[in-house]
């Protein structure tokens, strides 16, 4: 599969391409981490993070590649693994960076939101994540989710977002959210 074809399929939200890239480059990325004091589990984690970064940029069709996809993924993995090693060094010297961890309040708020997202219907959840994370266009989303047209997708997105807002507001009062 050529890089251009891969980018086009990701733009359409075809997640099978992600599987393909994972299998194709797995050994190369694992070797990178293993050769630099990491384990295979850590390598998997780093490579998955790199692929998610790549997916997000490619799905929004904002990615302009100046190299091969494999080179791009390799450099993202390198950067992520460097950061991970830095983090490990900081921990070993017992200097904890407060910003590394989410605060308790952040975690609680995230939990509320995640609970509410899980309560949404499948279509709403997909539509909202495709829009807010993948950055897919409404045209691509309407094709992927088989909506009649882009306007239908926009209307549905508006309703789904409203539903999510309402779920969150219902579960927690403004005080719960912001009285920190």
């Amino acid at each position: 599969m050529k890089d251009k074809e891969i980018l086009e399929l990701i733009g359409q939200g075809d997640e099978k391409v992600l599987d393909y890239l994972y299998k194709k480059h797995y050994r190369m990325m694992v070797r990178l981490v293993l050769d630099n004091s990491g384990t295979e589990d850590e390598a998997k984690d780093v490579f998955q993070d790199a692929l998610v970064v790549f997916w997000q940029k490619a799905a929004s069709r904002k990615l302009v590649l100046t190299s091969k996809i494999s080179t791009y993924l390799y450099s993202v993995c390198q950067n992520l693994w460097r950061k991970e090693l830095d983090k490990k060094r900081r921990f070993s010297s017992e200097v904890v960076d407060g910003e590394t961890y989410q605060s308790l309040e952040d975690e609680e708020r995230l939990k509320v939101v995640m609970d509410c997202i899980a309560e949404l219907g499948d279509v709403c959840r997909k539509l909202l994540t495709y829009h807010y994370f993948d950055g897919m266009s409404m045209t691509d989303i309407s094709k992927k989710l088989n909506f009649a047209n882009t306007d239908t997708a926009k209307t549905k997105k508006y309703k789904c977002k409203k539903k999510l807002d309402s779920l969150i507001k219902k579960r927690y009062t403004i005080q719960d959210f912001f009285d920190q």
Binding site: K23, Y26, E40, I117, D122, Y132, D165
Partner: protein, 289 residues
């Protein structure tokens, strides 16, 4: 909150504003507490959606079966150690080959004693010295090794044993550059959720938690003991079990998401469940627990 303000918030969070518009919006945020509250909530929602999608994509990738990267001769150790290991391995392979070459039938008779590393695959089709020499020079990759279960040879007792291939681990496993487009690309092979036949409660697992600084949960689960590493003090977890005809499956509910716990004696990151049917099943189990 007007629709216009909601649009402004969303455009700001999605970085779809010009620098001037952003500055103007930020100024308004500082002077309008109601707008600030709404902004914080929308920011949480968008962050939540992003986190949810990230977990979903990573769970998809985790479900893909990839052969483990074989490390002993690739990483770590000195060059001398690698050479020494190579010599020992070569000797071992030569020994197996010599042994099987003298009396091919013994390969079959002694199958049960063979270790996985000493994998001998019997080929009943060919028997020429030429074939044998060319085959023993092959250095197939580790995937081939993994795909050939050792017990294949034991099932061939009735057939004449004529030629052999000795598979050996390869020192330099192939990289992505060696993989042709389309190789091993079988997305349809992704594991599918299994149907549960029986929901059991309560859990009989011995759970021990270890408080860590990281919010990201790791676990180790073996011999009925589950060790959880994470921040549980203020974020309680629940362990759920599903018993089916294929055995017991264990899940954890934590921070609004379900996670699958597979038996492992190594500490590893816990993976979220993304299959909607399974999530619904677990939600029912959780509610009825």
């Amino acid at each position: 909150m007007s629709i216009d303000q909601q649009h402004l918030i969303e455009n700001y969070l999605q970085r779809e504003m010009t620098p001037a518009e952003m500055a103007s919006f930020e100024a308004e945020l500082q002077s309008n507490p109601e707008l600030m509250r709404e902004f914080q909530m929308q920011s949480d929602i968008i962050n939540g959606l992003k986190a949810y999608r990230t977990l979903e994509l990573k769970a998809r990738l985790s479900a893909i079966e990839v052969s483990p990267y074989w490390t002993p001769f690739v990483t770590g150790g000195s060059g001398l150690l690698k050479i020494a290991s190579g010599v020992i391995l070569a000797g071992l392979i030569w020994g197996i080959y010599s042994f099987t070459d003298k009396n091919p039938n013994e390969v079959v008779e002694n199958q049960e004693e063979l270790q996985p590393q000493e994998l001998v695959v019997v080929d009943s089709e060919k028997d020429t010295a030429e074939n044998r020499s060319s085959e023993t020079n092959e250095t197939p990759n580790l995937e081939n090794k993994g795909e050939q279960p050792a017990n294949q040879t034991t099932s061939e007792e009735a057939k004449p044993v004529e030629a052999k291939k000795v598979y050996r681990p390869q020192a330099n496993a192939p990289g992505a550059q060696d993989v042709q487009d389309g190789d091993n690309f079988t997305p349809d092979n992704l594991p599918k959720p299994k149907e549960a036949t029986n929901l059991s409660k309560p859990t009989s697992i011995d759970v021990q938690t270890v408080e860590t600084k990281s919010a990201r949960v790791k676990y180790r689960y073996y011999e009925g003991k589950l060790f959880l590493y994470g921040k549980f003090e203020n974020n309680p977890y629940e362990i759920l079990e599903i018993n089916s005809s294929k055995g017991r499956r264990v899940y954890m509910f934590h921070m609004g998401a379900y996670y699958e716990i597979k038996p492992t004696d190594k500490v590893q990151y816990i993976e979220p469940v993304t299959d909607q049917a399974l999530i619904e099943e677990l939600t029912i189990l959780k509610k009825t627990k």
